[in-house]
């Protein structure tokens, strides 16, 4: 939004400067305002938020550093600013520095005890740090105060973590409905709704949701990635690989690169898969340089495709940083793949302690149990993994089926 009227002529040199830098610079009103009037904390906060949003759109982690600068300057000028504090919390969470995120969220909550916004980052931090009880209470407070797309989507995720897929779907459809007028956010929750449908074994409903997201925002990358995943799971490998290639070209994030490589592997394109996997570490380093932590993703990747010792180190670090069900799953799998299946099974139970029905986690738990010699547990986990959707993944579903057959 525009703040001060400035004659067009003053903006021309700015445009030229940005082109010379070769960067996509958000030349919107707020950032020019922030430059022209550095004393304005609101404009600085807005600029920080714009940078976060652009980071989301472009996957350029350098945006994070700029966002941080803006929020910190805003806070220097106005130390009790709820918005700038929420901004720093959001930023820390985006970098997977959940403890810092929690600290800022708690501070924001103290500064604005009657506002819904601090609760949103508080919930996210508590969930990622494995503090599910407090997270549930914060989330209930948030939705009691302000039902909205943001709180519905969080309720959905919380229910999903607890294995309530139908309840998660219901909450996410409320989020989709609540999003009129904010296309990117609607596309995002539509994609998540599609993912839930896919988990529930409704691939057509999932595809409809992804199409709706792509209709709303052309070329929306999360929806393209989810659709590629759906194609892969349905055995349409060529379409899936084409889809992932587009995704990786636009957002070369580790999880997309890994998904492409694994799909190439399943399709028998081993050379291409090796090349793809080689990209993973480059992307990790790029993100790490901007202080984005990808330990969980990389740990699972290394456990399956690389250095198992490194997998275990990263997974343990992830658990130390954020003892969540997600990092427990990574520790479990890294242990099992390192030949310590009995420990792996114990950690798998931690990963499943909320009652998750995530088929990937259940499959890894089943394989751990089998390797640990607990055939009963292995059968239970694997059957549960395959129950809702027997074709949940082109990589993991066949592994689960093979293991289950071998156990029969």
């Amino acid at each position: 939004m525009r703040r001060i009227a400035r004659p067009r002529v003053l903006l021309v040199p700015a445009v030229a400067f940005v082109v010379a830098l070769g960067a996509f610079q958000a030349l919107d009103g707020s950032s020019t305002t922030a430059r022209a009037r550095p004393e304005n904390p609101d404009a600085l906060t807005k600029r920080g938020n714009n940078e976060l949003q652009r980071a989301r759109e472009t996957a350029d982690p350098a945006r994070y550093t700029r966002a941080e600068t803006a929020f910190r300057r805003a806070l220097r000028l106005q130390p009790r600013s709820v918005d700038a504090t929420v901004g720093l919390a959001t930023l820390a969470l985006a970098r997977h520095d959940f403890r810092t995120g929690l600290r800022y969220a708690q501070r924001a909550r103290r500064l604005g005890p009657r506002l819904a916004r601090p609760l949103s980052v508080l919930v996210d931090a508590q969930v990622e740090l494995g503090r599910y009880g407090p997270a549930g209470r914060s989330l209930q407070r948030m939705i009691d105060l302000q039902p909205s797309l943001a709180s519905y989507a969080r309720v959905s995720y919380f229910r999903e973590l607890h294995g309530d897929l139908a309840g998660a779907r219901a909450a996410m459809s409320l989020a989709v409905s609540a999003g009129a007028g904010a296309p990117e956010n609607v596309a995002y929750v539509q994609t998540l709704l599609g993912d839930l449908e896919a988990l529930r074994g409704h691939p057509r409903a999932a595809r409809r949701a992804y199409s709706a997201a792509l209709t709303g925002v052309a070329g929306y990358v999360p929806a393209l990635a989810s659709r590629a995943q759906l194609d892969a799971a349905g055995g349409r490998l060529a379409a899936a690989i084409r889809g992932y290639e587009v995704v990786v070209r636009r957002r070369p994030l580790p999880q997309y690169v890994i998904a492409l490589g694994e799909t190439q592997q399943v399709a028998g394109r081993d050379a291409a898969a090796r090349e793809t996997f080689a990209l993973v570490d480059a992307e990790r380093r790029l993100l790490a340089a901007n202080r984005v932590n990808t330990d969980v993703e990389i740990a699972l990747f290394e456990a399956d495709h690389g250095d198992r010792g490194r997998a275990l180190r990263l997974a343990r670090r992830a658990w130390r940083d954020a003892p969540s069900v997600r990092s427990a799953d990574a520790v479990s799998w890294a242990l099992t793949r390192s030949g310590r299946a009995r420990d792996g099974l114990a950690w798998a139970r931690r990963a499943l302690r909320l009652g998750s029905r995530d088929p990937l986690v259940l499959t890894r738990a089943g394989l751990s149990a089998r390797a640990a010699g607990d055939r009963g547990a292995a059968r239970r986990y694997l059957r549960r993994a395959l129950r809702a959707n027997p074709r949940f993944s082109v990589v993991w579903a066949p592994r689960a089926r093979r293991a289950l057959r071998a156990l029969a």
Partner: protein
């Protein structure tokens, strides 16, 4: 950001500053979107007036969903099917609703096309209209605060579609006109309209930049030009809303004044108990997320830390909740601080105001009266002991003005704001001048330099103009931003940037002294 909604009202403008969507690109874990804007539930403006062509009726225009840009297809702006929209009436003065009109929507979406319509839609029932909404109206009444049995007034009424352009709608006005429904002695309309609100948002929210003080000379930019909103407009007989169910005999009649506001409710969920969701009718399963009576009260008086709580609250709590902020308004201190600050003038040069503004900062009972209790002899509901409540208080006995004065009461026009609010009333200028101390002998010709809406209003129901079509609108005035070379066959998302400020002629500071009121 692909398209940050350009605010339809100040509230949204402020809220827009809060937008932050978190999704970490390095992540496979999921973070919920952090958008705290809720446009489909967001009340932008509420108007209540006696229309010239319906002098014995109450007309209410309630607008939602700010920043509608008809060219934003395929994401057409709409009401949310899962929310409840309300227009409330208080005819006893206790700040509690005595009558509530509830509007609930249902979207019909085509499974075969993403388009809103095929070409050449001729009527509102035309099958070529692929996406459309229908709605129902329920009237709730309360006796001594206790709800009576609600009555369904109508259901399956059509909603006027988004005006996507002349190829889709060769005659949009005709199609939208068919959304005007006459039910008994009342009229209803729901759907897209041109936003009646006009303001130079850019100046007003840059800590009151200098353009604010050029109000007497015009030259502001209507930042709301060409944007649209979703409106619910209704016109009901006075006897439907008065406390004695009788028409209003004249401006001094006991039943003449009613308080009007609009609000939105959303479904509450139990975080870990999905079974709660289906418990539709249960008491307490709905939460009010937005309310709006008097314009700008929430935006300019309520501190940011209280805004969520304000939106959740009801007018009967305003005495304890917001009266104190009107008595010692921060906005008054801001205006007084202006002469000490460097202000940016039209060419970006810093200047200082050479005068003192002398805005009273304390004991502003005049503001409490104007905005919350109603003015004596004009628009108090309870004339003996009026309770401060944020509702638009309209004395329906005051005859409508043939030629409305945009300054309303300040301009001697008793049919205008803050006696209710008409579409023509210049809420921003009135507000600024009132806070500056109009009723405290401190008359300052301040304003935002925008005097009227970009489109003329209609003489007849539903009064707000038809929305500019997506094909013709100029809201964006978009310029392609610089970007890196695009690989062949790739289709990167190019963000649409906000418009660049237009070139304007330099003008000097206007000395803000002397009344502007004609």
């Amino acid at each position: 950001m692909r398209k940050l909604p350009v605010a339809g009202a100040l509230g949204a403008a402020l809220a827009a500053a809060l937008i932050a969507v978190s999704l970490s690109p390095g992540s496979s874990h999921r973070e919920a979107p952090n958008i705290m804007l809720d446009p489909s539930a967001d009340n932008t403006d509420t108007y209540a007036f006696t229309a010239n062509d319906a002098p014995d009726k109450l007309t209410v225009v309630a607008n939602w969903v700010p920043g509608g840009n008809p060219a934003n297809g395929p994401n057409f702006f709409r009401f949310d099917d899962r929310a409840r929209y309300y227009i409330s009436i208080d005819n006893t003065g206790d700040g509690k609703p005595d009558i509530r009109y509830r509007f609930v929507f249902k979207t019909k979406v085509s499974n075969t096309s993403y388009r809103q319509s095929l070409i050449n839609v001729q009527s509102i029932d035309d099958p070529r209209l692929l996406q459309s909404q229908r709605y129902s109206i329920v009237r709730e009444t309360y006796t001594n605060g206790k709800p009576n049995k609600p009555r369904t007034i109508a259901s399956n009424l059509p909603v006027a579609p988004s005006n996507s352009g002349p190829k889709s709608f060769p005659n949009y006005s005709k199609v939208a006109g068919e959304a005007i429904k006459v039910i008994g002695n009342s009229k209803y309309f729901a759907g897209q309209r041109d936003d009646a609100f006009f303001i130079d948002l850019g100046a007003a929210f840059d800590n009151i930049n200098l353009r604010l003080l050029t109000g007497s000379t015009g030259l502001g930019t209507d930042t709301q030009a060409d944007t649209s909103i979703q409106t619910i407009t209704m016109q009901v007989p006075e006897s439907d809303v008065t406390r004695d169910h009788k028409p209003v005999a004249g401006p001094d009649a006991d039943n003449a004044t009613v308080g009007v506001w609009a609000s939105t409710e959303r479904r509450k969920l139990q975080v870990t108990n999905a079974r709660f969701d289906s418990n539709k009718g249960a008491r307490g399963s709905w939460v009010q997320v937005s309310r709006l009576g008097t314009p700008l009260i929430n935006e300019l008086f309520v501190p940011s830390g209280q805004k969520d709580a304000f939106n959740k609250s009801t007018p009967d709590t305003d005495n304890a909740r917001i009266k104190k902020y009107l008595l010692t308004p921060e906005f008054a201190r801001q205006i007084n601080a202006l002469p000490g600050e460097l202000l940016t003038n039209e060419v970006g040069l810093p200047i200082k105001l050479p005068v003192k503004l002398n805005v009273p900062e304390t004991d502003r009972t005049d503001l409490v009266e104007t905005f919350l209790t109603g003015m004596p002899g004009l628009n108090q509901i309870d004339k003996t002991d009026p309770l401060p409540t944020d509702t638009l208080k309209l004395n329906m006995g005051v005859a409508p003005a043939r030629t409305p004065n945009r300054f309303g009461i300040l301009g001697g026009d008793r049919a205008g704001f803050p006696n209710g609010r008409r579409l023509e009333d210049d809420a921003t200028d009135i507000f600024v001048q009132l806070v500056a101390g109009f009723f405290k002998d401190n008359k300052i010709s301040a304003g935002d330099g925008v005097d009227q809406n970009d489109k003329p209003f209609l003489d007849t129901f539903p009064y707000q103009a038809a929305p500019t079509s997506g094909f013709e609108q100029k809201v964006g005035r978009r310029q392609e931003p610089p970007h890196l070379p695009t690989p062949p066959g790739d289709n990167p998302q190019i963000p649409i940037l906000p418009q660049l400020p237009p070139l304007r002629l330099p003008i000097g500071p206007q000395l803000p002294i002397g009344p502007t009121v004609p």
